[in-house]
Amino acid sequence: MQAAITAVLTLIEQLIPLLGLASTNATVKLIASIITTLVQFMPQIENEVSVVYQSVKNIIGALSANPDATSTQLQSLQKLDEQVDAAWNKVAPDFDPDAAA
């Protein structure tokens, strides 16, 4: 399971630099290729790490041929932010070696 998530995150990191490039055919094809692979991964991670699943789902939604309006994408992102931030804030005090006692 973790190997699949690691592969997904690697794909995401490879995708990010492409987003700001000019929309050449090569770039569009490469993004589409990465998105297709991410979609294939979705069933493997859906029941395992829901946050990663939602993150990938949001990315696919944002980059698909008919993306949702920015406001909808932002709402999905903010909902994910709340979940992710709450989970981190719960463990941070014990994990951070410099946290106040």
């Binding site: 490469l30 932002l74 981190w88």
Partner: protein, 133 residues
């Protein structure tokens, strides 16, 4: 075993898709050379950061449950993870605030988000959990 096969297939698919240029791009993750970055670039990047932050949380949980006995849970590694999580979160918050208020998202802040993501990817968090399974 099935997951590793799928992961390998995915990476192979990428390489077959013309990876020579991609490898060059991998080394240059700070994209923004303009002063501002559009929302359709910021939003996927922020989502990607959230995924990485989730893996950092998993790593933290692992270390806490193991009472930090593993070398990978060293003080140094934990400080590194905390640093990039905090930096990335601050950048993400600032970028989203820009989009929400209709202000331009600054490229400097976007690049800071990418730097945090790259920093988290370089930590042993994900690999440590994979090896512990």
């Amino acid at each position: 075993m099935k997951m590793r096969a799928i992961a390998a297939a995915a990476l192979l698919a990428l390489s077959l898709g013309g990876c020579a240029g991609l490898q060059k791009l991998e080394a240059v993750y700070t994209v923004a050379t303009t002063a501002t970055v559009p929302a359709n670039v910021v939003i996927p990047a922020a989502n990607a950061f959230d995924a990485l932050k989730a893996t950092a949380t998993n790593f933290a949980t692992y270390c806490i449950q193991r009472k930090f006995v593993d070398a990978v849970c060293s003080v140094s590694n934990r400080r590194t993870v905390v640093k990039f999580v905090n930096a990335g979160t601050a950048a993400r918050v600032q970028l989203e605030a820009s989009i929400t208020t209709g202000q331009p998202a600054l490229a400097t802040v976007y690049n800071a988000l990418l730097a945090a993501m790259d920093g988290l990817q370089a930590t042993p968090a994900a690999q440590a959990i994979a090896e512990a399974q």
